[in-house]
Amino acid sequence: MNLNGISLLFLFALAVIVGLVMVVGTSFLGKWRGNKARFIPYECGLDPVGSPRSRMPLKFFLVAVIFIIFDIEVVFLYPWAVVFRDFVADGKGVLMLVEMAVFLGILALGFGYLWVRGALEWEE
């Protein structure tokens, strides 16, 4: 029987309960004295102009896309890193390091391309 899995399930259930009690449960405790001004989004006292969900720079989206690519590359590194010591013990360390250098070289090429094209520039 998998005790780790059961413990994790307990923990997840407890975390959900803590969240429900603290966020939903306590909202019945407070007394809510409402007036119209309470519903206006906070913008330092001025009346809001335009939609609150207005258009945003594409830059943030670009960062997310680049992140996904690089994050998957990093995930590929993990299994290599864990078995690396065993290969060194077998005397194949240099081979493994060179192979990873090739992989990271391709990654670095793409990174350099992004850099040159200005995908990482934030000052206009």
Binding site: L11, L14, V23, V24, G30, R53, L77, F84, D86, L120
Partner: protein, 425 residues
Amino acid sequence: MDFGTDILIALGKVVLIVVMVLNLIPLLIWMERKGAAYIQDRRGPNRCHILGIRLGGIIHSLADAVKLVTKGSTSTSATFHPLFVIAPMISLFVACVTVAVIPFTEPLVIGDFTFQFQIADLSAGLLYVIALSSLSVYAILLAGWSSGGKFSLLGALRGSSQMISYELAMGLAIVAIFLVSGSFRLNDIVAEQGAIPWHWNAVRLPLSFILLFTAMFAETNRLPFDLPEGESELSAGYHTEYSAMRFGAFFMAEYAHLVVGSLIVTLLFFGGWHIPFLSSATLHAHASDVLRILWIIGGIKALLLGAFLVRHFVRRKGYWGDLRDYEFLVFGVPLLLVGLALAVGFFVVGPVVLPEWASRLLVFLLQLGVMLAKTLFFVWVFIWVRWTLPRFRYDQLMRLGWKVMIPLGLVNIFIAGMMTMYLER
């Protein structure tokens, strides 16, 4: 031992560890306020009291909790309610769940009974932490988008792109640890470092430590990188429209992340539960001597501190003219009594020889204490940095993340790889 007992112990551990982490939060808030105060040359919180007992300001945290729980929850006319309520819950969920794989001590073995102070001993432990802690991006993004305020949305966008950028740097920094220790399991990573300080990863992989620690600040949204909630720019960032305990959930989650981050740094780079120069085997062999030393030091400290507090009471008698005068006695007298009891006990009982189970228990508690002390030190470093450094500008932040930390992380992998080859040979 039957299966039912195992389940009960597992449930107990889950509750104990979650309660432990959640109860550290008021203490950390107090630490943060006092630290900020003394860095800024003021006294900090010292007014709240229960019957004149102020505990140096800890009661303020209690007052805050009561206030947050009993306030009304507000929302705006543009709020999208389902996500607005779910977002703080995600934040708290992540904060509670990431402690699951943290080993606080070595397993306690008494006879054929084994107790491990860890919720789940996963073989992919560190991956679990990375995977679940990256879920907190959702909390920030959903909170900011669903609030329906411009400040919230801006804070959420900044926060999410900052967190994912620094997650890359963190992921690259961790590769070096996997290279050196050859395992995802946190127990193995700690055991591999051993008790000698220059075998700890902070000394062997300094670049990795710097990268990971810096990324940790960005992940927890703390001050050099607190762009998502920069007060002077976005009023409160992604939680501008939140109030009452919905805000409190974000607040608690930030400090819980702080605790988990410090635990991770301690485990990965500073030998976890190991006491410098004293390996577990040495401690087990000399448990009786260790107890004797602790006994003497504890007794002397309790006596000195108790005497100091009582002397303080005597000197300042009548200063306030009310119950507050007796506040020092609350700690002073029990400490003095404990110190006296320890001193008398030491001479009456004389040299004790601990049985096997007691020595194991002593080592277990000692290592737990050392682990928590190291963790609290790193929490203090987080606080210290927050009140020392100014905030980055957003383009500087992204430049540091993408153009400095990621190339350094790639270089670091090769350094660690070559070092592993050298060490294995």
